[in-house]
Symmetry: C2
């Protein structure tokens, strides 16, 4: 008998028929003798609609009220899921974030879970009851509703699994698992049966939208195995298909390169003609950090002319306008002008085997050069190499790299 | 400086534009120096959609989960209203039922408010903050969300006004006030500027859908003046148009007949051939009461044949199926058959002056007889006479009675 958290994303609970289908999957796990906690997203489209309502009234909405508004989507699905389970003869009830409670900090709109009270839930699970939890939401100590940021239901699921010490966290989604590249771009992309938290983290943060980054971080920290699988495949019992995200040591056959990720959600900003002196980076990026804008890739020109240099960095496109406003209002920093290019894409090669293999980066640069693709910015970590290129070349770059690293066949090639 | 509760119904907050319009009205009251609590319904159509979701999964849904689902509609509007007020420079925040808390009993789906904690709210109101409350919802002592039954936001508003000892409870709606009859049926219907709680109670429970019955009961109990007025009329300051529901003694010029109400929401059930002996009514209506079905008009045939008699009564059409199932499962009561007629309408003449004037009932029966309308059941109270007729004759009956009592002119005629 295992304790399982099953998470259903927006497309898996898009309408009543799909909620019933998801409930069938839960019942199967209950029938196998497992204790089950279900985490649900909002019905697909609902969150976007609610966000739009807020923005329509004011672009500068109070994030506490935004949270109150958008958290309602998951509340609805949780209640409906409980009803669907009860209809199937399974005892179930919904537990909202404030009822459990799922305690978070007070950073509304992007809150972090601090503690989950599990005593009562364990009692219910032990009694054979299914616990249904709306994803994406929590509550502050001042009893205000918070949300965890877009895709936050994955984080809710893994956090519930960690807090309950679950044996597995199953993420049901509309794809079959994690692929070596986006199958819409690379038809020959292969599903990855097992991947390490570290690689998944890079893939997740680099734009492979299967799992929210923070959920993978939490999985790595707690060691909960995360199983990504399709809601729309028939139930296979213990023989779960999909991708298992687990500890590195559990993966016997390690690939050098696991996958090619891409991301068109960033924009490039170049600050031209800033003084080339110590502290200039801090005076540029501190205000952005304070405005809660995540700066990703950063390059500073090596040579300076007339004691001046240029700084280039990327920010999420959704934050671009705020980033520019922040920079324009900077009194402490002088610069000549800002050059903005939102038409960029980040393409990345990810693989845990890179640590011990040379030549991975070189193959990447050579492949892109052969296709005439110009690299604007490079950034690397132990297990990934990312480059910024012109957006139009994204598909060509991803396909060429996928082929260059031999990912369509099940071989290890560096 | 007055303390005012302003309630906006579903059509008054139907979309973002209407929410902004409602917010403008709130700001006007704030600018006049008033302390304001706003109670909002769900955006029109939302509650129906949510109820439909529940019913689509199961007609026997868990009402606790239903409450969790449907209460979300008002939660959304409350957050949006707070954002709209803040945009106008007014400090405001949403207070959900469980945050205040609005404590109710545990009769989910039809909960009754037991207590409202007002200390913190008074502090906020005194500081000039606008308190925004989602209508329709409360919370049990077990921390589960409850709802107050359809139209419950009126009750929330009057309950808030009573708890806060407000000077006035303004109910903003899509009609201009309470009329002597439904203006869609009787074009000459007149708006009633002042009406007593007792009369409004009869009109409300008899199908004039401007106010929920329980809100009027609560108004009568607490003495809070309820002002019904249109959201879509320009703001008139202290010169509020619409209908004031108040204590009888505040109404100087009392009408004998205040209005003609009608209601097509009931169905007639006849239990044929029950034993004519003491206790038979109890054994019939007790099980219905236990199933939370409100039985309205009741008639027992006077003469019995072979020691048997027939019982006729009406129930809400929405409860008809459950009522029939309850009766069919009755082991303790023997009867020959059930005859059901959902095609009935209740038409009522209401007026506080009836207490001291004879001939009101007679005029009603005469008027209907002249039009060839058959009366199936009669029921009376001190201030109303109701008759059950065939549904097709509803409009004819209402129009004839409206004219017979001279309601289109501002005269007193019995």
């Amino acid at each position: 008998m295992a304790l399982i958290v099953m998470k259903f994303g927006g497309t898996s609970v898009a309408d009543i028929e799909k909620i019933e289908n998801a409930a069938d999957k839960v019942v199967k796990e209950v029938e196998r003798g497992n204790k089950v906690t279900v985490v649900v997203s909002a019905m697909s489209g609902v969150t976007n609609q609610l966000v739009e309502y807020c923005s329509e009234i004011s672009s500068l909405y109070d994030v506490r009220e935004y949270d109150t508004v958008v958290a309602s989507g998951e509340q609805v699905t949780a209640g409906l899921m409980a009803i669907a389970l009860q209809k199937r003869g399974v005892t179930a009830r919904s537990w909202l974030g404030w009822q459990i409670p799922i305690k978070t900090n007070t950073i509304h709109g992007k809150a972090r879970i601090e503690e989950i009270e599990t005593k009562e839930l364990h009692k219910r699970l032990d009694a054979g009851e299914v616990v249904v939890v709306p994803g994406f939401q929590g509550v502050t100590k001042n009893k205000r509703i918070t949300t965890l940021g877009r895709g936050g239901s994955d984080t809710s699921a893994v956090a519930m699994a960690a807090a309950l010490k679950a044996d597995r966290c199953d993420i049901y989604t509309d794809v079959k698992g994690v692929y070596t590249a986006d199958p819409r771009i690379v038809p020959k992309a292969r599903m990855i049966p097992k991947i390490s938290y570290e690689e998944m983290l890079e893939l997740a943060s680099l734009g492979s939208k299967v799992l929210q980054t923070r959920s993978v971080e939490m999985g790595a920290k707690s060691g909960v195995p995360i199983q990504v699988l399709s809601t729309f495949e028939p139930y296979l019992g213990s023989d779960l298909k999909g991708t298992l995200v687990t500890k590195e040591e559990n993966i016997v056959e390690q690939e050098i390169v696991s996958g090619i990720a891409h991301n068109k959600d960033e924009a490039k900003v170049t600050v031209v003609g800033v003084e080339d002196k110590p502290g200039i980076a801090a005076s540029l990026f501190e205000p952005l950090a304070k405005a809660a804008i995540n700066v990703d890739m950063i390059v500073q020109n090596i040579s300076s002319r007339d004691g001046k240099t240029d700084m280039t960095f990327t920010v999420p496109r959704t934050d671009l306008e705020r980033a520019l406003k922040t920079l324009e209002n900077l009194k402490t920093l002088k610069y000549e002008k800002l050059i903005v290019d939102p038409k960029v894409a980040k393409v990345s090669v990810v693989g845990i085997g890179m640590r011990s293999h040379a030549g991975v980066a070189n193959k990447m640069f050579r492949t892109l050069a052969d296709k005439g693709i110009n690299i604007q910015v490079i950034s690397t970590s132990e297990i990934k190499i990312s480059v910024l290129i012109q957006e139009d070349y994204t598909e060509l770059a991803v396909r060429s790299l996928h082929s260059a690293y031999g990912l369509e066949e099940n071989k290890k090639i560096a």
